[in-house]
């Protein structure tokens, strides 16, 4: 079969090309219409949002809706059981109605409280809310029972917490230097007299005798009789308490020089501070340990909240 070669002339190619380029598809309204519809759809998504649907049926898992807020079935069951002390299947229809009525009342009051902005305006509500948040963040930690090793470690670190305070009945005698009976008495002379008095006291002389013969008087610092250690520390002062704390019952101290004269302490009665052992203190240690965990969780939570919050202080204010 013979093949015939066709040679196109350059001029005809150019004409055809021009014709192809010049040709336009038949203009259809479909494309602009599609564009308009698509444009409106796109814009519509941005311009409108779904209106909130009115809820007309109580969803599963709820027993009631109060202004759109649900009362959970689980809460209702718990409340009914707590109020009647029965299992939920034993709670009568009347009791259920009463409990639900109370729960709806409570929900209405809570909603009203929020509208009245009580969390912002009422101290009791704020305290309850802050306490609630702290309890919530502490709950996961507190759910784990501490071991004895953890409690003992805490006990060792806070032994002073389980130490009972001691008490003392101490007679504080003071020799005022250069008193009205001997105006020229020096400190050295007074110290000699005081040493002699101490000797007499230790030998069995009565305090009354020493007071009459050496010019000692009761300082009045321990006039209230038996006092706990912390009170004795306040009344005697740092220097005298340090001496008294080391004394045993019946002991007489060496003379101690203070601004008002030379003091001699006579320990009449002494009960030393005692530390409870771990077994005795375990219940208290358990409570303190959990309290510490709760505080740590609250601190941690606050640190997170502060890191996420924007807090501005007025000029001149500090926290």
């Amino acid at each position: 079969m013979a093949v015939r070669e066709i040679h196109l002339k350059p001029r005809r190619v150019r004409e055809r090309l021009s014709a192809i380029l010049a040709a336009r598809p038949r203009r259809s309204a479909l494309l602009p219409a599609a564009g308009i519809v698509l444009g409106l759809l796109f814009a519509g998504v941005g311009l409108f949002r779904p209106a909130p649907r009115p809820v007309v049926r109580v969803p599963a898992g709820y027993v009631a809706l109060v202004n759109g807020k649900g009362v959970l079935l689980s809460d209702f069951m718990s409340q009914a059981m707590a109020e009647t002390g029965k299992s939920f299947s034993e709670v009568t229809a009347g009791e259920r109605r009463r409990v639900l009525h109370e729960m709806i009342d409570e929900e209405l009051l809570v909603q009203r409280a929020l509208v009245l902005d009580l969390p912002e305006t009422t101290v009791e509500v704020r305290d309850a809310m802050a306490g609630g948040v702290n309890a919530q963040v502490a709950a996961p930690t507190l759910a784990q029972e501490p071991t004895d090793a953890q409690l003992r470690e805490y006990y060792d670190a806070h032994r002073d917490k389980y130490t009972t305070d001691g008490s003392m009945t101490v007679l504080d005698l003071v020799l005022h230097i250069g008193g009205y009976e001997n105006a020229d008495q020096s400190t050295a002379q007074a110290r000699i007299d005081a040493s002699e008095a101490v000797y007499q006291l230790r030998s069995g002389a009565s305090a009354q005798y020493v007071m009459e013969h050496f010019g000692f008087v009761d300082s009045g610092r321990m006039k209230d009789g038996n006092q706990p250690d912390f009170a004795a520390k306040i009344h005697l002062g740092q220097a005298l308490y340090a001496v008294a704390a080391r004394m045993e019952e019946g002991q007489v101290s060496e003379p101690v020089l203070e601004a008002d004269g030379l003091h001699v302490l006579v320990m009449e009665r002494r009960r030393r501070p005692t530390t409870a052992d771990f077994t005795t203190a375990r219940t208290a240690v358990y409570g303190d340990y959990r309290e510490q965990l709760g505080k740590a969780a609250a601190r941690e939570n606050l640190a997170i909240l502060r890191s996420q919050a924007q807090i501005l202080l007025a000029p001149g204010q500090a926290e």
Partner: protein, 414 residues
Amino acid sequence: MTRRRLLEGVLCAALCLVGAVARGAPLTDTANVSYSTWTVSGSSSGPSVLLKFLLPEALAQSLTATGLPVLTTRKLGEFVLRHVAVGAAGRNCPAVDQGYDIGIVDPLAVGPALHGFEILFRCPVSGALTLHDHALFDRSAGHVNFARIVKDGRVVEQLFTAAHQELRLPAAGSVPAAGFGQYLRLGVMHLFRSPAPLCFLVGSLLLLRRRREVLWLAGAVVVGYGISLAVSTRSWILPRVPLLEAYMGFLVALLAAMITLRELRQPRVSMLGCPALLAVLAILTAFTSHHLQMLVLAGAAMLAASLLVANLWFESRRELWLVPVVLVGFLDGFALPAALEPLQLPQRSQAWMVAAFDCGAALAAVASMVLLLAALSVLRGRLRTALRRLPASELAAAGLGGLGTFWLLSRLYN
């Protein structure tokens, strides 16, 4: 001088006027509303009225500029107290101190965009009550308070306006609700106080070429409001008001592009310019977190491109320019549903309120266009000389384009 030239001149002047009045005002008047609920209850010692007054944040802020110095919640509450009252037997009922450290006005937590206050009035004598609301009417033109009166377990909707600041409740019997006419009037006033739809409708007269097209235009407006009514009364969707205002601005700019398209020697420049600018803006917005704005811009670009292309391709099919007219009616029809949203009214109550309002707005739109055309024919002879050399159409398009673009951009990222 042709009749067409005269029309362009007058419309240009009207647009300038609307634009000058509009300035930075809201494009629709949905922000200029407040809400009140008056709960009337009776007791042996006399009736009491618990008033819950809600004020949008934007309106509260505007009070600072109009004379309420350093706006605080307390001052705003005092302002409300000074402007509301309940009367019985010709005397004002005193507002009751609500205990603790609240005082007479109890501020409420009613959401981020609203301020709420509660005031309890206790009347010493029984009888017919008169509710007074004078808040904001003297400071903000066209302000409306949507009131709900709750009495004997029945709820009725009422309106407080500048012309209607008192409401008398009968001692016995039901409280009358605001009538169809009141919402109709509200719709009429709404249109005249909303510069964007008004600008668009006045500007759209520039596209008229034949007398019968006036009917098409009026029909398109009515159809727009009608579709809006059908959709909004179903309570399926609610508008995002700032974006809706931005889109309204876009439609005004699109109208300018359509007017320009007709005048240009190389219409493709106008045909591509407007959509291209919108597309670029949409692409730029896509890189930000404003995804809804990006969607609106992309949709606007597509609509503009399709409409302008279709206008050029099918010059004989002139009804295409009615699409934006329908859209303006449709979008403006959502003004009242948006304003009523905080009240969460039952669907049935809201439906007839919106119907009356949309009827009023549509009537006002059609009437304003007809009146403008009628005025034009009266003034024809007098304006002939003045408008001979004025490039009115170009000026009107430029004004519309500028206003529309300003509204689009200023509302889009607000």
